[in-house]
């Protein structure tokens, strides 16, 4: 769906597919450039967006059905907040364990580093599970 524009943010709904991720990423790019966000802030916003939407697509659903992910981007005086709503399995990303330090290629897990990158990029993380069965995860970034 095309983004809805507000005074300081936009919201849009994307399908839980790779095409949906691309659509949302392009909307984020357009919004960041319209408000002249710097490269550092833009990169952090894209990193968070890619990690969270990829996680939702890969792990949130226990069926093959296409779901909808509601996304909003908004900025404050010195912050930028990305919010993600999905109707998948309850999951608080703040509770995910830190990846184990591998020390070598042989011992390294192939994946499991995405939420570490989100935590490091974020100033604040919020999670709520609504009574209607939606996960809402919000990531606040400092504007560089």
């Amino acid at each position: 769906m095309p983004p809805e524009n507000g005074d300081n943010g936009i919201s849009l709904t994307i399908p839980s597919t790779l095409a949906g991720l691309k659509e949302g990423s392009e909307a984020l790019s357009g919004w960041l450039s319209r408000w002249n966000m710097g490269e550092e802030t833009s990169n952090r916003a894209h990193l968070v967006f890619d990690e969270i939407v990829t996680n939702i697509i890969r792990y949130a659903f226990d069926d093959k059905r296409e779901h909808r992910i509601e996304i909003s981007f908004r900025f404050g005086v010195d912050s930028l907040t990305l919010s993600f709503d999905d109707d998948g399995l309850p999951f608080d990303p703040r509770s995910a364990p830190e990846p184990v330090k591998a020390g070598s290629l042989a011992k390294a897990a192939i994946g499991g580093r995405g939420l570490l990158l989100v935590r490091k990029a974020a100033r604040r993380l919020e999670y709520q599970r609504s009574a209607s069965g939606l996960n809402r995860f919000s990531v606040e970034l400092a504007r560089a």
């Binding site: 990169n43 890619d50 990690e51």
Partner: protein, 111 residues
């Protein structure tokens, strides 16, 4: 995401250009893997034109490097830009994969 693979005598050189986010990785991972893993090629990866990486890009590099290791071959990354290097630092990738400054050093390290 663009990818150019040059097979030299004992080394494969992979030049990536663009963004290694989830869609970017989806575009190149299968061909990258098929080009270097079955032959067990030592592989150097030019990151000088990669402007962005997310964890799916890390997953691709670690997965291919592990597969190469089973063939007694290795992967060396070189010339990461600032955002890419910052992500590598955050996840301590240097403990897992060699990352060097330029192609000559990468080739020496991989040979």
């Amino acid at each position: 995401m663009d990818m150019e693979i040059t097979l030299l005598e004992n080394i494969a050189r992979v030049r990536l250009k663009g963004r290694l986010d989830t869609p970017g990785v989806d575009q190149v991972e299968a061909r990258f893997t098929a080009s270097v893993v079955p032959g067990g090629k030592n592989t150097v990866v030019d990151l000088s034109q990669v402007s962005f990486i997310a964890s799916m890009g890390l997953r691709m590099f670690i997965g291919i490097a592990k597969a190469l290791k089973r063939h007694n071959a290795r992967m060396v990354l070189f010339a990461p830009q600032s955002q890419v290097n910052e992500v590598f630092e955050t996840v301590l990738l240097r403990e897992i994969l060699p990352i060097v400054a330029d192609e000559a050093e990468a080739v020496r390290f991989a040979s």
